[in-house]
């Protein structure tokens, strides 16, 4: 079946669970991008796939390349402020995606 296309997903978790090192039990709605971009590939990507498998090795190259467009945020939610467990305010940028694209 057609692989799930790249789209915006949501997950509720605490600030501590973001893994940025802040200790705060406040809950945040994390938006992130996931899914396939196979439909956006070009001849370049098919060629890169082939080169990564055999082409580069034959030419003595060890370059690593991405063999397809990546599902990435195309815009971020600006600021997010919260009170940590020691009642101090913090504001962090670009943690959550606003929309996604290949």
């Amino acid at each position: 079946r057609r692989p799930k296309p790249c789209s915006l997903r949501e997950l509720e978790l605490t600030v501590s669970e973001l893994g940025l090192g802040y200790e705060s039990d406040e809950t945040v709605l994390l938006r992130y991008c996931s899914g396939k971009c196979t439909a956006h590939r070009r001849n370049y990507d098919i060629t890169m796939e082939h080169m990564m498998k055999t082409g580069f090795r034959k030419k003595g190259r060890k370059d690593k390349v991405s063999n397809g467009p990546c599902c990435r945020p195309t815009a971020f939610e600006k600021d997010f402020s919260f009170l940590d467990n020691k009642s101090r305010y913090h504001t962090i940028q670009n943690v959550s995606a606003k929309n996604c694209g290949c």
């Binding site: 079946r1 590939r41 001849n43 098919i46 796939e49 390349v65 063999n67 397809g68 990546c70 599902c71």
Partner: protein, 607 residues
């Protein structure tokens, strides 16, 4: 047409020191009428500075020097310049004063003189060939057929006449087959001795023999010369075989259709190029005053050049075909004889015409189905747009010039509402220029309802213009098979890239309910690429049919206009004619790539 030049280019070389009065070359003109006498005059195409240096004898056409050429004369000619002079020829009545007149718009020929800044080679350094024949110019004489004898070329090299005074030079002409040419011993001119006939020989290969006698040695020098015969319209058209064609018009009755072929021969030439200026012009006339005939039929005439078997003489073959000026209605019928007069307008004689006869029978076309009823089977699992079958009135494949439209009707108008809803299961469609109808599943849900048993339709075929109708019963048997859990959502089979996914999916247009996988076998880009299809009988087949064009997802392999990524060859208008490995399509794009593609996403290399 008047006097003409057998040769319209002359070339010679002039040297320093050549004295006034020295002859350079002689030009010739041929008579068109016996009463004509050529008078030769010099005119200039450019570089008129040299007009005073040369003299042209008005009667003999001999060009000679008016002054001795000095070294200084050659300074102005910085390089091997050529002086272009032209000789208008006129009948006695038109006296043209010799003045600095331009060659424009005169019956003129071109003389090219090469100025060599050296003295004329003496006898010891002049070889026989130079002595015997004019400068090796390359234009061959062209003589009109049916004209008068006369001199066509001076064989002697006039510039070398006095170079070897103690040599005696004489000429003769030979040819493999008899040819009406001779040499005038006094004037050493080559003469055509009788009128020529192009239809007998287009070209004479002559061998010119120059004999040079000194006190001790006789030397013979030969050169060949081709004399070509120009054509004029002196042959009437003739029919070789039949002048009558029997034509029956039935299924194919479309505007522009051509029928029957009658040939008219003409031994003269008919040049294709600059047709308006050429001779041998043919005009044809349809001899009929019947308005129906005049608005319906025309005759199309074309011609081509042909070489006759013996001797390869070129002649013309005219082909005439009956052409429909409009499409005929299916009910039009008629029998008529149509006469067409072919006239060779430029042939002077009386019999320049030929009459051709087209016996035409227009048959009506009966729009009917060959059978009273036709059976089709479709599985209840078929998806929407699955093709059920094709209906076609008798001989529909040969129809042209009118159109038939098909529609489905329910035989029992007052059937119950439920039963009526079953009939939405199947529908019919048709490509714009196609003569047959395509039955397809329109409502797959109705197909599956138990109460919808065998479906009986009436298919009605109607001829567009006359509204003539015919109908036939069609019986669609619903093959039970194991029904599946209902999924209203059909995807495009073409999206699947592997056999497993493909054969497990219910795709749009899938006749068996499931998509079908085609495994390619060839290496490289091939027409039998691997792909997932709703019905391998119709997709891919490089033809986007009427059902497939209803939705781009049914068979993008035949219909897509979107970009195709990877090695492929496009079909003529759209679709994928050939592809590399597996071809699969999303709505916005298709891909053709090697099958062993695992899903690799950017993971560590994006770090």
């Amino acid at each position: 047409t008047g006097l003409y030049f057998p040769q319209n280019e002359y070339t010679e070389t002039v040297y320093v020191g050549q004295p006034a009065g020295a002859q350079i070359l002689q030009v010739h003109a041929m008579l068109d009428l016996d009463s004509e006498r050529p008078h030769f005059y010099l005119c200039w195409s450019s570089l008129r500075l040299y007009s005073s240096w040369f003299h042209l004898d008005v009667h003999t056409g001999i060009l000679s020097l008016n002054k001795t050429l000095e070294e200084s004369d050659f300074i102005s000619t910085s390089e091997l310049a050529s002086l272009l002079m032209c000789i208008p020829v006129s009948v006695p009545a038109l006296v043209v004063r010799e003045e600095r007149s331009h060659c424009i718009n005169r019956n003129a020929l071109r003389i090219t003189l090469d100025f060599v800044n050296a003295s004329l080679p003496q006898c010891a350094r002049t070889d026989m060939k130079e002595l015997c024949f004019p400068h090796r110019d390359t234009s061959n004489p062209h003589i009109k057929e049916n004209r008068f004898p006369g001199a066509i070329r001076q064989l002697r090299r006039l510039t070398r006449v006095n170079v070897c005074p103690n040599y005696t030079i004489s000429y003769s002409v030979e040819s493999e087959s008899p040819a009406p040419f001779a040499v005038n011993e006094n004037t050493t001119e080559l003469v055509v001795t009788a009128p020529l006939d192009r239809e007998e020989s287009e070209c004479y290969r002559l061998l010119l023999v120059c004999t040079v006698r000194t006190d001790s040695v006789i030397t013979k020098v030969e050169t060949s010369l081709d004399v070509f015969v120009n054509d004029e319209d002196d042959n009437a058209p003739y029919v070789n075989g039949t002048d009558m064609a029997d034509i029956v018009i039935s299924f194919n009755r479309t505007k522009g259709g051509s029928f029957g072929t009658l040939l008219v021969f003409d031994r003269d030439l008919t040049p294709l190029y600059q047709i308006d200026k050429s001779h041998n012009k043919y005009v044809g006339t349809l001899l009929s005053s019947d308005p129906w005939i005049n608005k319906t039929f025309d005759i199309k005439g074309t011609f081509r050049e042909k070489k006759t078997a013996p001797g390869g003489i070129r002649e013309t073959v005219h082909e005439y075909q009956l052409v429909l000026k409009r499409s005929l209605y299916v009910n039009e019928t008629r029998t008529l004889q149509l006469d067409y007069l072919v006239n060779d307008t430029t042939y002077p004689g009386l019999e320049g015409t030929v009459l051709l006869h087209f016996n035409v029978t227009v048959l009506p076309v009966h729009v009917r189905f060959a059978n009273i009823t036709q059976m089709f089977t479709v599985t209840r699992r078929a998806s929407v747009y699955a093709q059920v079958g094709r209906v076609c009135v008798e001989n529909c494949q040969q129809f042209d010039g009118f159109s038939i439209t098909y529609r489905l009707e329910v035989p029992d108008k007052n059937a119950s509402a439920d039963l009526h809803s079953c009939y939405s299961a199947v529908s019919i469609t048709q490509a714009p220029d196609a003569m047959w109808g395509l039955l397809y599943v329109n409502d797959s849900e109705a197909l599956r309802r138990p109460e919808c048993q065998d479906l009986q339709y009436v298919v009605v075929a109607q001829e567009e213009h006359t509204q003539q109708e015919t109908s036939m019963q069609i019986h669609i048997i619903l093959d039970e098979g194991e029904t599946e859990t209902e999924t209203a959502c059909f995807l495009s089979c073409a999206e699947n890239r592997r056999r497993g996914d493909c054969e497990s999916v219910r795709g749009l247009g899938a006749t068996t309910g499931r998509c079908q996988w085609r495994q390619g076998t060839e290496k490289g880009i091939s027409e039998s690429y691997s792909t997932c299809s709703p019905d391998l009988r119709t997709c891919p087949d490089s033809f986007c049919d009427a059902v497939e064009s209803k939705d781009a997802s049914i068979c993008p392999q035949d219909c897509t206009k979107e970009p195709v990524i990877g090695g492929h060859e496009r079909g003529l208008g759209n679709g994928i004619k050939a592809g590399y490995g597996t071809c699969y399509c999303y709505s916005e794009k298709c891909f053709c790539e090697k099958e062993d593609v695992e899903e690799v996403i950017c993971d560590d290399m994006c770090k």
